[in-house]
């Protein structure tokens, strides 16, 4: 199809070039003092739950939540939770939950082809870190990795995301600049702003149509 490529590009080049308009200035700023509040409000408005905790206390807070919630995927005993064993917060979770047999930590450490059935049907929740948040829209930034694969934030009915309070940016533009995204993006970068939802049937909002039905955001304020 290289002929198609040549033909298409030739036709485009044959057109009289339009003038290159100047980019008018545009910016949105959210004062640092307002960011955490705005971030939480926006996420809650999008049907997510936002709680604040500390880097030492969050595993027990999460354990309470999960016990109260019970298992949702119908497994016989306890909840099955995907976590990233190789990361700092993964180790925190494993250390804190050694005495909690009813919360089974499951590593996503094999290719999806091997784990597909478990992933699609048998995991109740997944815990992931984030690369921060965006206050303007109430958004989580995720750069999935080998330790935290892409489907962790998508397949289980509950997604638990950890956000460092100091990593909440004002806007997406600001996050892209500060983190220098254009220098190199990962396989998949994600913005998540609530649980999976649809309004396709009579504009009635319904949650969990394909992805998580619930999103729990834990803001870590050390």
């Amino acid at each position: 199809m290289s002929n198609a490529r040549t033909a298409i590009l030739d036709r485009l080049r044959a057109a009289r070039p339009a003038p290159l308009p100047v980019l008018p200035e545009w910016s949105v700023t959210i004062p640092p003092a307002e960011r955490l509040n705005r971030f939480s409000e926006r996420l809650e408005a999008s049907h997510a739950e936002v709680v604040t905790s500390t880097s030492g206390h969050w595993p027990s807070l999460l354990a309470e939540r999960l016990k109260a919630r019970g298992n949702t995927q119908g497994s016989a005993n306890g909840s099955s939770v995907h976590y990233p064993p190789g990361t700092h917060h993964g180790r925190c979770l494993a250390d804190a939950w050694t005495d909690k047999p009813e919360l089974r930590l499951v590593a996503y450490d094999q290719p999806v082809e091997v784990l597909k059935d478990t992933l699609v049907h048998r995991v109740d929740a997944a815990v992931t870190a984030t690369r921060g948040g965006i206050a303007e829209t109430g958004t989580l930034i995720l750069w999935p990795s080998a330790e935290e694969p892409r489907l962790m934030s998508l397949l289980p009915p509950l997604h638990v995301a950890l956000v460092e309070a100091k990593e909440i940016y004002g806007t997406l533009t600001e996050a892209m600049m500060v983190q220098n995204w254009s220098a190199g993006l990962p396989t998949n970068a994600l913005l998540i702003s609530g649980p999976s939802k649809t309004a396709d049937i009579e504009q009635t909002l319904a949650y969990g149509v394909h992805g998580p039905k619930e999103l729990l955001v834990i803001v870590l304020d050390p």
Partner: protein, 483 residues
């Protein structure tokens, strides 16, 4: 009842006939009115500050015009960066080429089942029907698209494809097509059913297909915007991902995305941002546990390079497919999407469809407008849709061998030509003007409203009553009054 009428409307010969059928369908009109009122209110709530709206829109409009001004260079850059990232790039001149390219990729990988995220370009190239002929089953996974696929219908809106379906319609479809599904019109229960059924489809699919909202030349990245997560699943779970996009969707830099994204989601559904924004830059890398092993990008022309050749009509290609123009269109709201009998309905469809399919088949669409200007006013990238409608009306009516618009002159009428020649002569030669106005003031009121040609006007309006004397005679007899 609604869907039967809507379906028959789609098979009527021209827009006017299809519109008449749709207008007689009260249920259909109620559904669209309600949905459009809701979408207009939600959009307005997103832009409370006119200054913020103006500056954001100016930025978005300039970004799109800059991308178009450098389109060939940006496409080459996109291709280079994608290839460096491991994404394979294909070029398709026509719909048929795109279908064959996609089928070729799928056949090479032994694909039997394709799971689809929502993609209007895949509708444009009629991919599902083509793949079915080659024994590949394409399953729509966006809830709205899934519903209309069960009903064997086409989308009636580019963002909310099953607006024309009530929850009772969906309940019936699910009961009739999904094994062991009892009738329920509870939206949560219907959504849960779709989740259960489509999860199995995702798990079993050999490949995923998606559209693209923005392709970023700087980084070789595909940006997909959605709420449901089916787009993420389609592009992550199966071992193969094929993305298809109109070649105008490329933008220069990553920093172009935030303003366009903000304009898109706020204009489309009145959301500050959608649940998911998905940036895909490569297939699965060594050591990663999920994501497709291969990613293919198909760049579709299908008439876009021809549109690009005309400096005014080129603005059509600035579109980011938010659907705000249809949500605010008094015609679309009343007749719904199927009356246009086109992949892209509403105002953007009225300028895009005639340019892709030609004025010979779609030349009536630019007339499906009152030129009220609402579409141009709400367009987040300031496409002057009313001006382009007028331009295309002219292209259809005038025989002009230099025109680059497909089917130019297709609606040319000698009678219309003569009428306008007479009109011109009458205003150029004072004698003709006096004779014509005198004749009309004498016999105009005696002319029956049903007179051929006149009845196109009088069928929906009262015939004007002519004064006994033309204005210029009155002025002449009374003298000029400057007060």
């Amino acid at each position: 009842m609604g869907s039967n009428l809507a379906t028959s409307a789609a098979t009527a010969p021209d827009f006017a006939a299809r519109a008449s059928i749709a207008l007689a369908d009260d249920g259909l009109r109620r559904k669209f009115r309600r949905a459009m009122d809701g979408l207009m209110t939600k959009r307005a709530a997103q832009f409370p500050d006119p200054e913020a709206w103006t500056s954001l829109r100016a930025r978005g409009a300039a970004i799109r015009r800059r991308s178009l001004a450098r389109l060939p260079q940006l496409l080459e850059q996109l291709e280079t960066r994608c290839r460096a990232n491991g994404i394979q790039v294909h070029w398709a001149e026509t719909s048929a080429d795109a279908d064959r390219i996609i089928q070729g990729i799928l056949t090479d990988h032994g694909v039997r089942t394709l799971i689809k995220g929502k993609s209007m370009v895949s509708e444009e190239i009629h991919l599902n029907d083509f793949l079915a002929e080659h024994s590949i089953s394409a399953v729509e996974s966006d809830l709205g698209e899934f519903v209309i696929q069960l009903a064997h219908e086409t989308p009636s809106h580019i963002i909310m494809p099953c607006i024309h379906k009530s929850k009772e319609d969906v309940a019936t479809l699910f009961r009739d097509h999904i094994p062991n599904q009892a009738y329920t019109d509870d939206v949560d229960a219907l959504t849960a059913t779709a989740r259960r059924v489509l999860r199995e489809q995702f798990a079993g699919a050999d490949a995923g297909l998606s559209g693209v909202n923005f392709a970023i030349a700087e980084t070789g990245t595909l940006c997909l915007v959605e709420n449901e997560g089916n787009g993420r699943l389609s592009t992550t779970l199966p071992p193969l991902h094929v993305a298809v996009m109109g070649l105008e969707k490329v933008v220069e830099r990553l920093e172009d995305v935030p303003p366009l994204l903000s304009l898109l989601t706020r204009s489309a559904t009145g959301q500050a941002i959608t649940t998911y924004v998905n940036f895909i830059s490569s297939p699965r890398k060594e050591g990663e546990q999920d994501g497709p092993r291969e990613v293919h990008l198909v760049l579709l022309d299908n008439g876009r390079t021809r549109i690009f050749g005309d400096p005014q009509l080129q603005e059509t290609l600035a579109c980011i497919r938010c659907g705000a123009c249809m949500n605010h269109c008094p015609v679309y709201t009343r007749v719904g999407g199927h009356a246009y009998d086109a992949v892209y309905p509403g105002p953007i469809g009225k300028i895009l469809t005639p340019q892709i399919d030609g004025l010979a088949t779609a030349g009536d669409l630019p007339h499906a407008s009152s030129l009220c200007g609402a579409c141009g006013e709400v367009c987040p990238v300031a496409i002057p849709i009313p001006n382009l409608l007028v331009r295309l009306r002219g292209e259809a009516a005038h025989q002009n061998s230099a025109s680059t618009v497909m089917g130019a002159g297709a609606r040319h009428s000698s009678v219309e030509d003569w009428v306008w020649r007479g009109w011109r002569l009458m205003h150029q030669v004072p004698l003709f003007y006096r004779v014509a106005t005198r004749v009309l003031t004498r016999i105009g009121n005696a002319m029956p409203a049903s007179l051929p040609m006149l009845n196109a006007w009088t069928s929906v309006r009262t015939k004007p009553r002519f004064a006994r004397r033309p204005l210029n005679e009155l002025v002449r007899s009374r003298g000029f009054d400057h007060e």
